[in-house]
Every structure is written in C-alpha cells, then in structure tokens.
Amino acid sequence: MELKRLKTILRNPKTNNSLTLKSPIIAASGTYGYCDEYENFIDLNCFGAISTKGITLEKRAGNAGERLFEVKGGLINRIGLENIGIESFLREKLPILKEKNIDFLLNIAGSTPDDYEKLAQKANENNIKALEVNVSCPNVNKGCLEFGLNPDSLYEITLKIRKNYKGFLIVKLSPNTSIIKSLAIAAQEAGADCISAINTIRALGVKIEYINDKFVKKTTQGGLSGSCVKPVALYMIKQIKEAVKIPIIAMGGISTLNDLFEFFFCGADAFQVGTSNFTNPTICYDLAVKLNDFMVKNNFEDLEKLKGAIKND
C-alpha cells in the first residue's frame, strides 16, 4: 500500500545532503534484526526504513547473564551489542537488503575512534545511503557511550566518520546527560546531517522476594526503553531542536498516532519505534497507515503542513 502523503525528506540545511524516506516511521536499532527477519509479519517495503541491529567491527557475543528486565511500562535491557560484525553483515545481510529493496540505516558502534573510522569507510565503500552512529549504548564497558557524553570527543568521532563517509550521517544521542544541547551542537558542527534520540536511559531493575526467611534479590542494570521513557524523550527532542538546525529523528516510547503528534510538536522530523515492535511487529506500518489516514481525512497534503499546523494551532 502506498502512503503518498508520508514522503519524508530529511535535509541538512547547510550542505543539502538529504535522505528520502517513504514514511517517517523507522524501526529502531536492536528491535528489528538486520534485514528481513520480520518479513512474515509485514511487507518491509512499507517502512520508512529499518535501523539495523548495531554493528561493530568484529563480532560481539554480548553480555553474560540475564539481559532483560521488564518494568511497568518499559523494559530494561543489557544485551551488550551482540552482533555478527561488519564483514558478516556485508557478506550475508546486505545482499538480502538490496535484493528485497528494504530501506535501512546502518547502525554502527565502536570501542575506539578507529573502529568508527573503519566502519565509516566500509559503509562508504559499499554505498550505504544512511549511517546511524551509536555513541549512546549504556551497556558496554568500553567506548560507545563514553564518546557520546563529552562534546569534544563526540565532535572528534563525528568528524572522523564524516571525513570517511559521504552518505547521510545520523548521530544517535544518549539521554544520560545534562548537556544534550552541547552534544547536539558538537555533532552538527562536525558534519552530522541528522540527530536521532534518545537511546535508552540508564536504569536499575530490582526484584526482591522473601523466600524461606530470606530476602532473595535480583538486579539488572541496563538501558530503559518503552512507553515510560516518553516524557524524557520529548524533553530531549525539544532541547535538541532548540540547539540545532539539522533534522531530528525522535524515539522513546512511541506507540500511538498521538505520540507522533507530540514528538512533531517538540521538533521531530521522523520517528523510530523500538520496544513496541516486540508486542506489535507491524506497528511501524500500522502507525504509518494511521498517520496517512489522518492526513487524508483532515486535508493535510504533506508532512510539512501537518507539522506546521501542530506547531502553530
């Protein structure tokens, strides 16, 4: 099904570098696999894009022990970037994405600045249209988030990637900071075309049961996602919007049409849906249909007009 009114163009106003999407709704990294894993549930061609599971230079086994902890309205995960590595991705998954014509963002993460540089080169060599740089995963010991919380190191990393990658460069920011504006500006100044936010929020899940006269405790420290993080995400998007001119892909607890309106209001240009894919594997498409239907019914010709109305009414 074609959703004509949803055509989304994300454009860096300084360089005119742009990314065109069929719909503003993207499946978030880590929740939708590498390529066609969800094809049984839905025609993936209807998606704005899939952000691939985060890819590192070498394959990673991820964290040992329990990786999930469900909380009210959310989920704490500590997967630890388990992934097949860039070479396996290019060899096994990229051909599937191309053959099935699935639009995607390649999500990359690294432990060192060199990792990011090499991954950027690989992406460039393989003509990958869009790169989403994860400098915000709270679940790995080394690298990644540590680069994303300091404006200077974020600037350096982004610059390194920019020099090696000509496509559409998205930097995914962490909410685990009190200086989100400085971080967004650093990414923009170093040449990022777009900001995506938020990654998960650092959190601790604690379960205590009293069994046989003893407190049995279980804790899981990781990143929180799901509907409970939406107010944090809305705040962060608004802050980022106040700081930068490049487009913003918003995520954090999105599952309804009204969520999209709220994020549009705060400055979003496109969206990612993550945790909700687990309960509804077709949600990215369902939301796109709802958004399109709303626009048809209420005479909004395109997303710019809808955004304008949400902000000005």
Partner: protein
C-alpha cells in the same frame, strides 16, 4: 525431520474456546485460530495488553486448529489471562521456536511442574506415530497435579530413582521440561549415562524471533562456546550442549 529454519510463524487472532482452572493456580486455555500446524516443543507468544512484553507458553496440544496451553497463574500477565472467557479474542505469534526432534526410540518424557505442558503434546504426537514412550511428571503437592502422565510423583524430586527407571525401561532417548535446576541435574545424569536428551528451556523473551538477543544462553558446540537464543534456536536444546551458568 521438520525444517525449523523456515519462517512459518505469523501473528494470529484467536478465540478463546475455554479457560478453566485445572489444578491449584493452574489453568488450561483452548484457543481456536487459523494456525494450521504446530509441533511439540514449539510455543505461542501471547499478547497481554498492558505489558511491555508478550508471554511465551509451550503448546500443550494442537488439534483441528485448536491450541491448548497450560499456565501457572503467578503474576499480573497470567492473572489477566486467567480472566479471559469463551469468545474473548487473543493475539499471539505462532508457531514459535524449534520443537523436539521426535525419533522412533524408546522414550522417557519428564515433566517437572508446569513443565508437563509440552510433554503432554509430545506424548500425543508419539502415540500417533506408535513410538514407545513413558511420561513421568512431578508436582509439589496433590492439588497441583496435572493429569495425563503414566506416573505422577508428589513431593520430592521428579528425578528420584531416575537412573534405575532409565535402565529398567531400556530408555533410548529422554525429553524434558521444567525448572532449570531440574533440567541441569537431569542432563548431568543422562550425559554420564550417554543417553540422548532434549530439554525445553524457559527464559524472559522480548522479540520471540531471535533478533533482539534478549534470551540468549550459551551452548558448547564443537568445543566452541556459542550464543543461542531460546526463542529461535530453542526452546528445545540438546542436553549435552547447554552450558549451565
């Protein structure tokens, strides 16, 4: 052998046929849907409207588009499922995961507690194929008994005297489901006796199709430690390969 690599799972809307308390805190739900096939050891991933994650349940029987599941009422989600009545709609993903590899071997089936659920389905499938089988189940107390076994143990461990039973009955293959502590002990015994064992594991799951890597365990394959997701690579694993942490 069935090809579990094929992606034949989908999202289904089913109708509850019945949902009854059959033992203490234990319910049996029958669901009618368009699902056409399922194998013993596979599971359904049920939507609970107010929860962030779906809930996996072993399929305890499948016949004529009707799925049977058995579940312990423990928390908010199973508390919700308990309230469902005939004709209520349920949303589930199915058939998920790799089931048991049924072979024509004299088989012992062991179900610990609610772990009996996939064993009942397995027994049914084996009976259809005229494969000799013997199902032992274990429960903590009388009021927790779920019927359908050849032998039911109350209190103690379902594994008491298991070595003798294996020898006396000339068992060639073992299938089991239950708490990890039982399965680990069983595997220690059967690995020593060199008897092929398949176990069905349980773990908190997010995606149910292997992409999120949330329900990963470690296996030892060809002397190499590898990750396997319980939802896609399992829930059935070879007892000789699982690394218990």
């Amino acid at each position: 052998m069935k090809d579990y690599n094929k992606k034949d799972y989908k999202e289904y809307k089913g109708k509850v046929i019945s949902n009854d308390l059959i033992a203490k805190d234990c319910c049996k739900m029958l669901i009618k849907s368009d699902l056409e096939s399922a194998s013993a050891g596979q599971f359904v991933s049920m939507l609970c409207p107010f929860k962030t994650l779906r809930r996996p349940f072993s399929i305890a029987g499948f016949d004529n588009n009707i799925i049977k599941i058995l579940y312990k009422v423990k928390g908010e989600a199973t508390g919700y499922f308990k309230t469902l009545k005939a004709n209520d709609e349920v949303d589930f993903l199915a058939p998920m995961g790799r089931g048991f590899n049924i072979e024509n071997k004299n088989s012992l089936l062991i179900g610990a507690g609610i772990g009996i659920a996939p064993m009942l389905f397995l027994k049914e499938e084996m009976n259809k194929k005229n494969i000799k089988n013997y199902l032992i189940s274990g429960f903590r107390a009388d009021d927790e008994i779920i019927k359908g076994s050849d032998e039911t143990k109350i209190g103690g461990s379902v594994l008491d005297n298991i070595e003798n039973i294996i020898k006396e009955r000339k068992i060639e293959k073992i299938y089991s489901c239950g708490p990890n502590i039982v399965l680990q002990k069983l595997c220690e015994i059967t690995n020593k006796m060199n008897i092929e064992t398949e176990i069905s594991l349980e773990k908190v799951m997010a995606c149910s199709i292997g992409v999120c890597r949330g329900c990963v365990i470690n296996l030892l394959k060809n002397n190499e430690k590898i990750n396997a997701s319980v939802c896609k690579d399992g829930p059935v694993f070879s007892g000789s390969e699982v690394l218990w942490n």
